[in-house]
């Protein structure tokens, strides 16, 4: 008998870090085989690079107004020998520079809102699923009520009182997402709670918090990752919509949504570049997240592949 009790228990627990390298290799091969996700990944890396280094890369100051050079067409000459590659807006600001700055806010809001909503939702779902009873009832009914309320209306109500701002936007969008995470986490926790490796951890005398966060949580990361990748896409869309309504960030901060909002005033005059480029930036980013999310779902759960 080489198998000590401890070894037996580790074998009951699902595999983790030891297989990480092999898993990564398998993921990469599947990614390459699916083709499109590679492009999506490349685009997203580019967007992240732009979001981080945007200020250094942007040819002009995104907030510098130049009334003499307002509404210049794409490719027109800008100030001091520079070129408005994507044109200038109604205040003579460079569209390309604003676009590059806008990537930062869109991604920041997207990821931060997921972090806020994901954290609240996962903790709520773990607590709800592990303890059950009235705790479960209260948390899930709260979620039901929130879902019965069209999200954008909820966001409008809170943002109009809190005022526009990046932090408020993150909070509102984050709180708008928690129910999804809570429901999935709860369902997974319910089924894992009764599994042998959880019982084993309990028998070994682990505390409740340790069981919940160290034994159960690592095993539900996969479905949560899939949800998160789609969720980033829908949060970016929601941010753009709220900024478009004037509830997002203050006007001095360029975001893709607020650029589209400003483009409305010059729409009739057929200044197409003001509306086209920020919109394309949103579409390309969101599309990449959706494609990557699709691939990730198929990769982590091949059973779902057939179901599109």
């Amino acid at each position: 008998m080489t198998d000590s009790a401890g070894d037996g228990l580790t074998r009951l627990a699902p595999r983790r870090d030891s297989d990480l390298a092999r898993g990564m290799k398998r993921a990469w091969r599947s990614l390459v085989a699916a083709r499109w996700p590679v492009l999506a990944l490349a685009i997203l890396i580019a967007v992240v690079v732009v979001a981080i280094f945007g200020p250094a890369m942007s040819p002009l100051d995104p907030n510098r107004q130049n009334i003499m050079l307002r509404l210049a067409e794409p490719g027109a000459a800008g100030p001091r020998g520079a070129t408005f590659w994507l044109g200038s807006d109604a205040l003579g600001r460079d569209v390309l520079s604003r676009l590059l700055y806008g990537a930062r806010i869109s991604l920041l809001v997207g990821f931060a809102a997921i972090a806020v909503g994901g954290t609240i939702g996962i903790v709520a779902g773990l607590v709800s699923g592990y303890f059950g009873g009235w705790t479960d009832d209260v948390i899930m009914r709260l979620g039901d009520i929130q879902l019965a309320f069209p999200f954008i209306l909820l966001a409008i109500m809170f943002l109009i009182v809190l005022g526009p701002g990046v932090m408020n936007l993150i909070l509102v969008l984050g709180i708008g997402q928690w129910v999804t995470y809570a429901r999935i986490t709860r369902a997974q926790t319910l089924s894992l709670r009764e599994k042998e490796f959880v019982e084993a951890a309990r028998a070994l005398g682990d505390g409740t918090a340790a069981i919940i966060f160290r034994t159960i949580l690592p095993n539900i990361v996969a479905p949560l990752t899939v949800i998160a990748s789609f969720n980033v896409a829908s949060v970016i869309l929601a941010e753009a919509a709220l900024s478009f309504l004037g509830l997002g960030v203050p006007p001095s901060v360029p975001t893709w949504g607020s650029m589209l909002a400003e483009s409305r005033d010059t729409l009739i005059a057929n200044k197409w570049w003001l509306a086209t480029f920020p919109g394309l930036a949103i579409v390309v980013t969101v599309l990449s997240f959706n494609i990557l999310g699709d691939w990730l779902r198929d990769f982590l759960d091949p059973r779902l592949k057939e179901r599109g």
Partner: protein, 324 residues
């Protein structure tokens, strides 16, 4: 059946109370809500007067109960910019919004079923790939940007569709003027076409994917094989056997979709200067007309909850597996 309906009704009441509670506390989280109702140059006395007049000096629970009491009578207070009861203004804009929402649902569901079915039947072919690629795009395009692009291309460049405006259909219909209503119908649809497509595209894309996947699942089942081996025509097998079960998930989805559509309507109405609740909310936000925003949010939420209830009841009726 009746216990189910009673239970769902009770749930809806609880949710509506939740909605009123949330819209009540939303006003309070920013501190003293009086400041939302006064101009920036108001003196201390003026602020104190408004606070008393609006009852914000009372304890919170008293405020909430009187808020609920007023709400039951449809009283959301006076609009700050129109000097009329807020609820009247919102109700006036409701028919236009309902027209837009209904047509969007028609677009999203009516087209999603054939698209999804064809993609499933021709799985793996270029047709399937094409439909699914378009659907993927449809889920990634912000609806308001789509609206702007449609205005630029179909409206301003090709001049095929009007870029703003609205011809009433529901309003004359509700007033009993059938001749006017149906006389307006062609023009009403013409004006609604672009906004409705812009609102419905995201849902159309999602529903088409949903129909395809549930159709694929159903097509692989034994009873479909049985139906085929009985010698039924392919049309009968697909329409009468497979589709009947395949579209159940879509019905569930429609319920959830309303919330999304309402969000889309708010934004799209602004893009197309469409005289519905959405544009009203947008203008009210800019003018900080709190009573109108509150009335619109609560009213739309109630419409949403009622529609959800109706969808659930329909679902219970068409799916015999739902135990009543």
């Amino acid at each position: 059946m009746w216990t189910y309906i009673a239970r769902r009704l009770l749930q809806s009441v609880v949710v509506i109370i939740g909605v009123t509670f949330i819209s009540f506390i939303a006003l309070q989280i920013g501190g003293d809500p009086t400041y939302l109702f006064v101009s920036e140059r108001a003196t201390e006395e003026e602020i104190e007067m408004v606070r008393r007049a609006l009852g914000f000096d009372r304890p919170l629970h008293v405020q909430y109960l009187s808020f609920l009491g007023n709400l039951l009578q449809g009283d959301f207070g006076m609009s700050l910019s129109y000097r009329q009861p807020a609820i009247d203004i919102v109700l006036g804009a409701l028919p236009a919004t309902i027209e837009l929402t209904l047509l969007s649902i028609l677009v999203s569901v009516g087209l999603a079923v054939p698209f999804g079915v064809f993609a499933a039947l021709y799985r793996g072919t270029a047709l399937d790939g094409g439909i699914m690629t378009v659907a993927m795009f449809g889920q990634s395009v912000p609806n308001f940007w789509q609206g702007i692009m449609m205005i630029l291309f179909l409206g301003l460049y090709l001049k095929w569709f009007p870029i703003s405006g609205h011809v009433p259909f529901l309003l004359p219909l509700l007033q009993g003027d059938l001749a006017a209503a149906f006389g307006n119908l062609p023009m009403a649809l013409y004006y609604l076409a672009m906004p409705a497509v812009a609102v419905g595209t995201y849902s159309l894309a999602r529903n088409a994917r949903l129909v395809r996947s549930s159709m694929l699942e159903v097509l692989g089942q034994d009873y479909v094989r049985t139906a085929r081996s009985k010698g039924l025509t392919e049309y009968t097998v697909i329409v009468h056997h497979a589709l009947r079960n395949a579209w159940l998930p879509v019905v569930t989805m429609i319920g959830l979709e309303f919330g999304f559509l309402i969000g889309g309507v708010v934004v799209i109405e602004t893009v197309f200067s469409y005289p519905g609740i959405g544009r009203l909310v947008f203008n009210a936000i800019n003018q900080r007309d709190i009573p109108v925003v509150q009335a619109a949010v609560v009213l739309l939420s109630m419409v949403f909850i009622c529609l959800n209830l109706i969808v659930d009841l329909i679902y219970a009726r068409i799916d015999p597996r739902v135990k009543l």
